[in-house]
């Protein structure tokens, strides 16, 4: 009985996968076949739009229209029935829980970005000089494949707390106790819990920074470094005066990518503490307003604040892209 149920599940799964994946490809072939019936001149004008339309449709349905809609909802009440002017925004920047979320997000942004980028850079430079470079890099890079939820469980285990006198099963508290201190409730102690969460993100993102910076470091022409060495520069001077200026643009790209990611951090806080004990961030407040309090106006206003924060990055990306097109 159990076996047939499982078999049916498995077959449903395969059918769903085939239908979902095959359907989209059939769609393109079907549309192309229809367009082939048109006269040549018309066909060459219609065909680009046949190729573009599915993409434009999902972009419009899932990104462009919802973004506009959220902007409008952010000026309306909890059920989007009446306009309330700037009330939701005033709430978002004056409410004490929101202010804590802003403070925490700032802490996340500064610490995660600065530590993962600088650590990634140091590792990228050092790992270049050891023969087991691929292995070391793979180990540090590996957390990139792990979901935020998985990483949260991994670190909950590292932070596990048992009362004093009991055997500590969390790695960190075992070390603390072995050094002769009292065990610390890393996730409940308000002075350390935010930092405990931030460490997880640093653990996840350092590998990313390292990989990008490492390929930039390898791109520095060897003769520049040789010339500096002949002129008597030591390794630290080479690092500060040559390596960093030469990979500056990569440092900027890596930093902005991490900033955009950290700005929207949600999963780690949601899984580890649920945002309790002063650990909320902007994105987790947004989900709370939306799901727990059912206040779509406030939730939307908080989302708009996130959007405003990434607009400089958006403008920079577009500028960078236009530069590329000119250089093409």
């Amino acid at each position: 009985m159990q076996d047939t149920a499982n078999l049916i599940r498995l077959l449903t799964a395969i059918a769903a996968i085939v239908l979902g994946s095959g359907g989209i490809i059939a769609l393109f072939y079907g549309a192309n076949w229809l367009v082939n019936g048109l006269p040549y001149g018309l066909r060459s004008r219609v065909l680009p739009w046949v190729y573009m339309t599915p993409a434009l449709a999902v972009l419009a349905a899932f990104l462009i229209l919802p973004t506009i809609r959220t902007l409008i909802i952010s000026f309306m009440d909890r059920r989007s029935e009446a306009f309330v002017g700037l009330d939701n925004y005033i709430f978002a920047v004056t409410n004490s829980a929101m202010l804590i979320a802003f403070r925490n997000n700032l802490l996340w942004l500064v610490l995660v970005t600065s530590i993962s980028v600088s650590l990634g850079l140091v590792i990228a430079v050092l790992v270049d000089r050891v023969p087991y470079e691929p292995l070391a890099k793979a180990l540090i890079f590996l957390p990139m494949a792990i979901s935020f939820v998985g990483a949260s469980v991994i670190w909950r285990f590292v932070y596990a707390y048992q009362p004093p006198g009991f055997e500590q099963i969390g790695l960190l508290n075992a070390i603390v106790v072995a050094l002769g201190f009292e065990p610390v409730g890393w996730l409940v102690n308000r002075t350390v819990n935010n930092f405990a969460l931030i460490v997880i993100m640093i653990w996840l993102q350092t590998g990313f920074a390292m990989v990008l910076l490492s390929s930039a470091v390898k791109g520095i022409p060897q003769d520049v470094i040789e010339a500096a060495r002949i002129d008597g520069a030591n390794e630290f001077q080479i690092f500060w005066r040559i390596t960093i200026p030469m990979i500056n643009s990569t440092i900027v790209v890596v930093s902005t990518t991490i900033i955009v990611l950290v700005l929207k951090v949600f999963d780690i806080v949601f899984v580890m503490t649920g945002g309790n004990l002063d650990t909320d961030v902007i994105a987790s407040r947004m989900i709370k307003e939306m799901f727990n309090f059912r206040n779509f106006g406030r939730g939307s206003a908080i989302a708009v604040i996130l959007l405003l924060a990434v607009i400089p990055v958006m403008v920079a990306n577009i500028r960078r892209f236009q530069q590329q097109e000119v250089n093409r």
């Binding site: 292995l135 285990f157 990989v211």
Partner: protein, 300 residues
């Protein structure tokens, strides 16, 4: 004679050099090995713990398995059996596959066609469209959740696989088009024009020339999208809601943390089940993943 006398000091110098390099590189080795170990330890602890007996897990740290006498009998697969069958992780694993595979194939197909049109077809508004897509790269998902959820509720799409597939297709589209258009745009013009002169239709050029030549870029995007969808919690949480029958591994693992937060034998095994597919994909296709990172580390 003279060559020998020259050789000796040279040899001495290399030996001295070698000692000197060893001394100067020793701190480098120490730092690199220390960081690599530090980065691996949390995951290693989880993996080892997932094979330990439930009560042993709660009374001693995972590092105690290294204390002699070494007893292989302390390891078992019971935690995995329990979490797969009784905690719903088996069904969740299947759900994750059902969600992830189409949610990877669909955006690849749509984005590749669009990227080809943007790179090699003439139509008005082409440049503007691409600029808009570049801008959309960093739009926070949070901006779209409420309107899409409302639309899904009225269309009956919330809690369905189709709803999640479409949502992931939309959210992955800007990165896909960006990566693929940049790659397809650099294919040799002669090749594509020659095929067009020979009378090949756009579909033929696309399937016979562009797609085969773009496999590395398509693979990069595929790895990205696969990892992103498999590891996603937010989209599943919002659009699948409380429907446990369709919940992916991330959602079930999260609920496990909430309901059985101290049952480490379940959490460690569950976490590892949720991680195994992305780890295999990542280790197998790391090359493509890194290439994708280098080409477009701008996604929002």
């Amino acid at each position: 004679m003279s060559s020998v006398s020259k050789k000796r000091p040279a040899q001495a110098r290399t030996r001295l050099d070698r000692l000197e390099t060893l001394l100067t590189t020793a701190p480098v080795h120490v730092v690199v090995i220390a960081i690599a170990l530090l980065w691996t330890l949390p995951t290693a602890g989880l993996l080892i713990s997932s094979f330990r007996q439930p009560d042993a897990l709660l009374t001693s740290g995972w590092w105690s398995v290294f204390v002699p006498p070494f007893d292989p009998a302390q390891f078992h697969l019971g935690n995995y059996m329990n979490v797969l069958t009784r905690q719903g992780m088996g069904q969740a694993f299947l759900n994750s596959l059902i969600i992830t595979i189409p949610a990877t194939v669909m955006p690849i197909a749509i984005a590749t066609f669009a990227a080809y049109a943007l790179a090699w077809m003439q139509f008005p508004g082409r440049q503007l469209l691409f600029v808009v897509i570049v801008g959309l790269l960093v739009v926070p998902l949070q901006m779209t959740l409420i309107p899409v959820l409302r639309a899904y509720n009225s269309l009956g799409l919330s809690g369905t696989f189709l709803g999640v597939w479409l949502a992931h297709t939309g959210y992955g589209m800007p990165l896909g088009i960006y990566l693929l258009r940049n790659y397809i745009g650099t294919l040799p013009r002669d090749l594509i024009e020659a095929a067009a002169v020979d009378g090949a239709s756009h579909l033929k050029i696309f399937t016979r020339i562009v797609v085969p030549l773009s496999t590395p870029a398509i693979a990069s995007f595929a790895v990205f999208q696969f990892l992103w969808v498999w590891n996603d919690l937010l989209v599943a949480l919002v659009y699948l809601g409380g429907n446990q029958n369709v919940a992916p591994v991330t959602l079930v693992l999260r609920n496990l943390v909430g309901d059985r937060g101290q049952d480490w034998h379940l959490l460690t095994a569950g976490a590892f089940i949720s991680m195994v597919v992305p780890l295999v994909v990542f280790l197998g296709l790391q090359r493509y993943f890194v290439r994708g990172l280098l080409a477009g580390s701008v996604k929002g």
